[in-house]
Symmetry: C2
Subunit: 286 residues, 2 copies
C-alpha cells in the first residue's frame, strides 16, 4: 500500500531512514487527476529508484485564473489506487496551508524561457511552477525527479532551474503518452464533452504536420507554422492560442530551423485549454 | 590546515563522507576580506558543528555598481590564515565561472523585505544575495548556516528564503562585532583613510541615540529618526543615505514603535558606504 502523507515533517521523517541507507529516492510531482501519462512517470521512477514518492498538489501559485484553479479536476481516491497499483511507496498530498502557511515573499523568477508560449498567455504561471518545484525538491530532496515531455516549456524551465541554482536533483523527461487517435493524455481531457473530445486530436495532427514539414526540409518557421495552422478547422468551438517553433533548449522563437526545435501549441476546445508539442530535428544539410 | 577548494564537484565529494557519517555541517558564507566579525561566525560554527566550511565568493550578481565590485577588498592569503587559525575544515573559493557558467535565468525574487533600506538604494542587490545564498545552500547542503546581524536586512531575507522555499538549513544570526569606538567590523572599513576612519563611528553613535530614545519610551518613529540624524555632523565627507526604524521581522517601515524594531542606517564616508543597525525593544506599556 502506498502511504498517504499530508505533513512535510512526517514526510521528511519517513524519508530519513531510506536516505541514511543510501536509497535512491525518486519524485514524481503531479497535480493529481492522474492518467496514463503520469502512470508512465511512476513506472519509470519505479524501475530506477529504491523509494518512489508521488506528490499531488494543485498549486494555486501557478494558476493565473481563479476559475481555472476552481475547475481543475480532483480525483484523490482514483489517484491513490493508481499509485498503489504501480508500487509508489509514498504519496505526498499537502494542503495549501501546509505548502504556503504565509504568502511567499521569496519566489523563483524565470527570465527568457518563460517569455513565450504558455508564459505569454499565463502571466506568473512559470514563476508559480518553478517556485513549487523548488519547494518540493527541498522538502523531498530526491535523487531524480520525473517530468512529462508534454509540458515541454515546464521541463526546459525545470532543467534550467536545477542548473542555475545548483539543485542536486537529476531531471528525467518522459515521453508523452497519447490516446490511439493521437490526443496527448492530460488531466484536462476529463473536462471535454463527447463532441469536444472528438475534435481535440486536431492539435496533435497540426503539430505532426509541422514535424513532417521540418523533416522534409522546410526551414522557414513561418512556413512551417502556416502549414500546421491550416490543419485547425474553422470551428467556433476551437481557438488556437499559439502554435510556434522554438529552440528546444532555450524556448526562444526561431526564424530558420537548422537545429532541433520544439513545435508547441495551445488549443482551446470549448472552455478547455489543451497543450501539446513535438520535438523535430531538421534533416542534415547537404 | 584548512583545505582550499575551487570546484563544486570536488567540494561535494569532500562533504560526501562526513555527510554519510551524520556529521553536522556548518556553512559560513562570506565575500572574503575577513575580519573579527567573520571570525566570530567561524567560532560559533566551530563550537556547534563537526565540519566547518567557509565560502569566499565576491558575488557579482549582488553588486549594482561595477566600480563597487571592482573596488571590493580581496585578501585571500590573510583569509586562509584566519580560517586556518580558527579551525575551519574547508574553504570554498569558487571562480565566477564556476558559480555562473552561464547567465542565470532562474533567480530568487524577494518581495517586500527587499523594498526598503539597502534594497531601495541598491536595485537588484537582494535578488543577487538570495540567489547566491540559495546556490551555496544547494552546493553545500549544510545543517546550519551562520550570518552576521550587521547585515540585518540580509539576515531577515535569508530567514524568509529558507521558510518560503522549505530549504532544510537552520539559520543562525550572530551578533555584530565592533571596534572599541563602536564602529561595526566590515570589510569595507579597509577602504577608509585615517581621517575617514576617525569619523566613521558616528553611524553607531546615531543608532545608539535612536535606541536610547526608544528605550526611554519615544514611540514616534519620526521623532526617533530625527533625534538620531542630528548626531550626524554637517560634514561634506559624510552623507547619510538612510536611517530608519523597521519591523524586526518584515523589514517594513513602522510609524509607531510598540514592538521590537531594527533601526538601520547607511552612511557614506567619503567614497565608502557603511551600514549598521541596532535592535531595539520598546519598554512595556504601563
Amino acid at each position: 500500500m502506498s502511504a498517504q502523507i499530508a505533513s512535510i515533517a512526517e514526510l521528511r521523517q519517513r524519508l530519513d531512514t531510506p536516505r541514511r541507507n543510501g536509497a535512491h529516492i525518486g519524485l514524481v510531482p503531479t497535480m493529481g487527476a492522474l492518467h496514463q501519462g503520469h502512470g508512465r512517470l511512476i513506472e519509470r521512477a519505479r524501475e530506477a529508484c529504491d523509494t518512489v514518492l508521488v506528490s499531488i498538489f494543485v498549486n494555486p501559485l501557478q494558476f493565473d485564473r481563479q476559475d481555472d484553479l476552481d475547475r481543475y479536476p480532483r480525483a484523490l481516491a482514483d489517484d491513490m489506487a493508481l499509485c498503489d497499483s504501480l508500487g509508489a511507496d509514498l504519496v505526498f498530498v499537502p494542503s495549501v496551508a501546509e505548502m504556503y502557511p504565509v504568502k511567499p515573499r521569496c519566489t523563483v523568477e524565470v527570465a527568457e524561457l518563460g517569455d513565450h508560449l504558455c508564459g505569454r498567455y499565463r502571466p506568473g504561471h512559470f514563476r508559480g511552477v518553478a517556485t513549487v518545484v523548488l519547494k518540493l525538491f527541498q522538502i523531498v530532496q530526491p535523487c531524480t525527479a520525473y517530468f512529462g515531455e508534454k509540458d515541454a516549456q515546464q521541463l526546459a524551465i525545470v532543467r534550467r532551474l536545477v542548473a542555475d541554482l545548483n539543485v542536486p536533483v537529476a531531471i528525467c523527461g518522459v515521453e508523452t503518452v497519447r490516446e490511439p487517435d493521437g490526443l496527448a493524455m492530460s488531466s484536462r481531457n476529463r473536462r471535454l464533452d463527447a463532441d469536444e473530445r472528438a475534435r481535440a486530436p486536431v492539435l496533435y495532427a497540426a503539430l505532426s504536420e509541422a514535424r513532417a514539414a521540418i523533416e522534409s526540409g522546410v526551414t522557414s518557421a513561418t512556413a512551417v507554422q502556416e502549414r500546421a495552422r491550416k490543419r485547425i478547422p474553422d470551428d467556433d468551438r476551437l481557438r488556437l492560442e499559439y502554435l510556434e517553433a522554438v529552440d528546444a533548449e532555450t524556448m526562444q522563437p526561431v526564424e530558420q530551423i537548422h537545429t532541433p526545435v520544439v513545435v508547441a501549441g495551445a488549443l482551446w476546445v470549448g472552455q478547455t485549454r489543451l497543450i501539446d508539442n513535438v520535438r523535430c530535428t531538421p534533416p542534415v544539410q547537404p
